[in-house]
């Protein structure tokens, strides 16, 4: 009777593990479920040299032995349970030649369980196209294993693999990393408590949330209860373990693997070589950004003008058609202009997310992340910080939550603190309306001045975030290390459905998320601007008529003076005048002051607030932009929104922490009021000083 051995096929997802399984077993395979769970179990028989038969199990794909799903539980439970009938005589770890570094993490973990572990490097046929060369002898010596270089696609190396499996007893079981190197004191105590157990196995049992269904419960419970450290400390040790493993892998690959990208011949490599080039990569990214911002302006001007005039008409129509009264005024002067102030930006928001979504779908965004990692490292940030910083262009809230995958607490904290500097979509309405008022429409080399200004503001936000990170990295005395691993997806044509859904989802959340707040604030602002205390407000008409009695003014002019006087003596006017001394040096009047205060709820409320304030008492059919352009500086004369005050406002919004929801999320993520409070005062204080300097220089 021939001997049968158990072989476990293990590997990261997408390494071609199932192809190896098919190549080994052919038609001798069956598919079932693991007992009690719905995870697919694939097993088969393979005839090996010297009459050996192998019972091969194709285990679910996993990135590491730190299980986070049912599939991964299956892998770890099998490897920890020597009594399992399927416990492998040899583990065959399948890796992809293009992602060897990431794939080797799992290999080192399995090897440390002292199971004979064979390394299969698949997709060897792609080495030539990728410019990869491997020193197999060196790798075998360093990893203390046997390596099978195969290509399942070309059916190469399979016989050698079978031969190596058959000779599994020759494969070393020496671990790659000594568990005690992770934390000497902790692991020595652990070994003393369980002297007959394998240290790395004990460590895995302690740190896993695995439901050990088939393993001896008493033994497992005894180990799992050995927790001399808190859960957070254990997590830190796990991170330390991962870092140790990557240090080991880096050292091995430094000598054992050479990647000469200049030799790479496939299209993806050619594109990668250009798009991630240290000069051309940044130049192309810059040109792409430039094109996006220009397109945002060019393509959205027509629908924006249409929306603007439609809301102006709607406001006028409401006033003329509905019965006169307070509610009609609320609709015409409060709600409709307030909503118009948000709806008008739908085209630009939609185009921005259309481009972002296309870049993500095509696979280019991952290259940008890789490209920016080089820059980020110099400023104390991780490559992983790029994802929150880029998603911050949509909204700082999900961006801050996206920092959770940054292992190093210091890098994570810095990313949380600087992400609100990136230009979020809520700043866009403020920027767009101010730019349209103060920057001329001319072009330079085909690029509009307004688009260039918008792009500069995006760069300013990003640069401030990175520079702040640099300062924080120097100031914060927290020690930590992290590694950056990014998976580069293949380039592909974006799927229309995915892009359309993203644009719809983002635009909807922008309109409905901010829209409700703007509607509520518009109603309250209208009330505060339409009513006031004391005789000045109630007798406005007689006061103005007496004051201007000597002058020959038309009915319209008298009416304008009355509206203006009422507004100044309304609740909002009194409040605005109270805060005016603080904002006057920045070139703002009390109306802008009110808009800044109300936009603390959400930045985009700024435009809606001004639209509401300027609409109260006005009967003309002017658009928001025209009303803002017509505002006169009450002290200096001339347009209120001139170059100096406009730049001052743009800079104020670029730096100020004008978002209550972001502060709440920072508090939740840092579990402390210290960081959001610091963020609020430092960012807003800085914004005030910069806006003040800009106005005083430019006025």
């Amino acid at each position: 009777m021939s001997k049968q051995i158990n072989v476990a096929l293990i590997g990261n997802p997408n390494t071609g593990k199932t192809s190896v399984f098919n190549a080994l077993t052919g038609l001798n395979q069956k598919v079932g479920n693991y007992p009690g769970i719905t995870v697919e179990k694939k097993e088969g028989i393979c005839k090996l040299p010297r009459g050996v038969k192998a019972h091969i199990i194709d285990l679910p794909g996993t990135y590491s032995l730190n299980a986070s799903s049912l599939d991964e539980n299956v892998v770890i439970e099998l490897l920890l349970n020597k009594n399992d009938k399927d416990f492998p005589d040899i583990a065959v770890v399948v890796t992809d030649v293009e992602n060897l570094k990431r794939n080797l993490l799992l290999f080192t973990q399995i090897k440390d369980l002292e199971i004979p572990t064979l390394l299969v490097i698949n997709m060897a046929d792609r080495m030539r196209y990728k410019g990869i060369s491997l020193d197999i002898d060196y790798l075998e010596a360093q990893l203390q294993t046997k390596i099978a270089l195969i290509s399942t696609r070309k059916k190469e190396g399979i016989d050698n693999l079978k031969h190596l499996i058959a000779n599994y007893k020759e494969v070393s079981v020496t671990p790659c990393i000594k568990a005690s190197d992770i934390d000497k004191e902790y692991f020595e105590n652990l070994q003393k408590a369980f002297p007959n157990q394998l240290l790395y196995k004990l460590w895995l049992v302690i740190t896993q949330d695995v439901n050990f269904g088939k393993t001896d419960r008493k033994e497992i419970d005894a180990v799992a209860n050995f927790k001399t450290k808190s859960k957070a400390d254990l997590k830190r040790l796990q991170q330390k373990e991962t870092i140790k493993r990557y240090q080991f892998i880096n050292n091995v690959l430094r000598e054992g693997q050479t990647i000469d990208v200049s030799q790479a011949k496939d299209l993806r490599s050619k594109l990668d070589r250009i798009l991630t080039h240290k000069v051309w990569g940044y130049a192309i990214f810059f040109v792409i950004l430039l094109t996006i911002f220009q397109a945002i302006y060019d393509w959205s001007s027509v629908p924006m003008d249409f929306i603007d005039s439609t809301f102006a008409f709607l406001s006028e129509w409401t006033k003329n058609q509905l019965p006169q009264g307070a509610f009609t005024n609320l609709l015409a002067e409060g709600i409709i202009p307030g909503l118009g102030g948000i709806v008008i930006f739908i085209p630009q928001i939609a185009f921005l997310f259309l481009f972002i979504s296309v870049l993500e779908e095509s696979g280019y965004m991952s290259r940008v992340v890789f490209l920016m990692d080089r820059v980020m490292r110099r400023f104390g940030l991780s490559g992983k910080s790029v994802v929150p910083l880029i998603s911050g262009t949509a909204c700082a809230i999900p961006a801050i939550m996206a920092t959770r995958n940054i292992e190093s607490w210091k890098e994570r904290l810095i990313t949380i603190l600087v992400t609100p500097f990136t230009t979020c979509s809520a700043r866009l309405p403020v920027y767009l309306i101010i730019i349209s008022l103060i920057i001329p429409e001319g072009r330079f080399l085909g690029l509009g001045y307004q688009a260039l200004t918008l792009m500069l503001l995006y760069f300013l936000g990003f640069a401030t975030a990175v520079l702040s990170a640099y300062i924080l990295n120097k100031v914060l005395k927290i020690k930590s290390k992290t590694f950056f691993v990014v998976e580069m997806p293949n380039y592909k044509l974006p799927m229309f459905k995915n892009v359309a859904l993203t644009v719809l989802e983002k635009t909807k959340s922008f309109v409905f998320g901010a829209g409700k707040i703007i509607l509520a604030i518009s109603i309250i602002l209208w009330f505060l601007a339409s009513y006031g205390p004391g005789d000045d407000f109630n007798n406005a008409e007689s006061i103005i008529k007496t004051e201007y009695a000597a002058q020959q003014l038309s009915e319209d002019e008298i009416s304008q003076h009355i509206s203006s006087y009422k507004l100044e003596h309304s609740y909002i006017g009194i409040t605005g005048h109270a805060i005016e001394p603080i904002i006057r040096p920045l070139g703002y009047d009390w109306k802008i002051g009110i808009a800044i205060v109300s936009s603390f709820a959400a930045r985009e409320v700024f435009v809606g607030t001004l639209a509401t304030i300027y609409s109260v008492g006005n009967d003309d059919e002017a658009t928001i932009k025209n009303r803002m352009a017509a505002e006169v500086n009450p002290i200096l004369g001339g347009p209120l929104f001139n170059f100096a005050s406009g730049i001052s406002l743009l800079l104020f919004y670029a730096f100020a922490m004008q978002c209550m929801s972001t502060l709440a999320v920072v508090k939740r993520e840092t579990n402390s009021w210290k960081w959001p409070t610091l963020q609020l005062f430092i960012m807003s204080g800085f914004a005030y000083v910069v806006a003040l300097i800009a106005y005083q220089f430019l006025k």
Partner: protein
């Protein structure tokens, strides 16, 4: 009559707006732990 109805509607709108803002920013409802960011319209879903 028309003035009274309009004033009632305005009063209702203001109370509704105030209630919405207070509930949104001051008396927040406890959120499900499964939700990723709540009702802030951040588009994180």
């Amino acid at each position: 009559m028309n003035t009274i109805i309009q004033n009632i509607l305005v009063f209702a709108a203001i109370v509704g707006a105030l209630a919405f803002l207070l509930r949104k920013f001051i008396w927040k409802k406890s959120k499900s732990k499964k939700a990723c960011g709540g009702d802030d319209g951040c588009g994180c879903h």
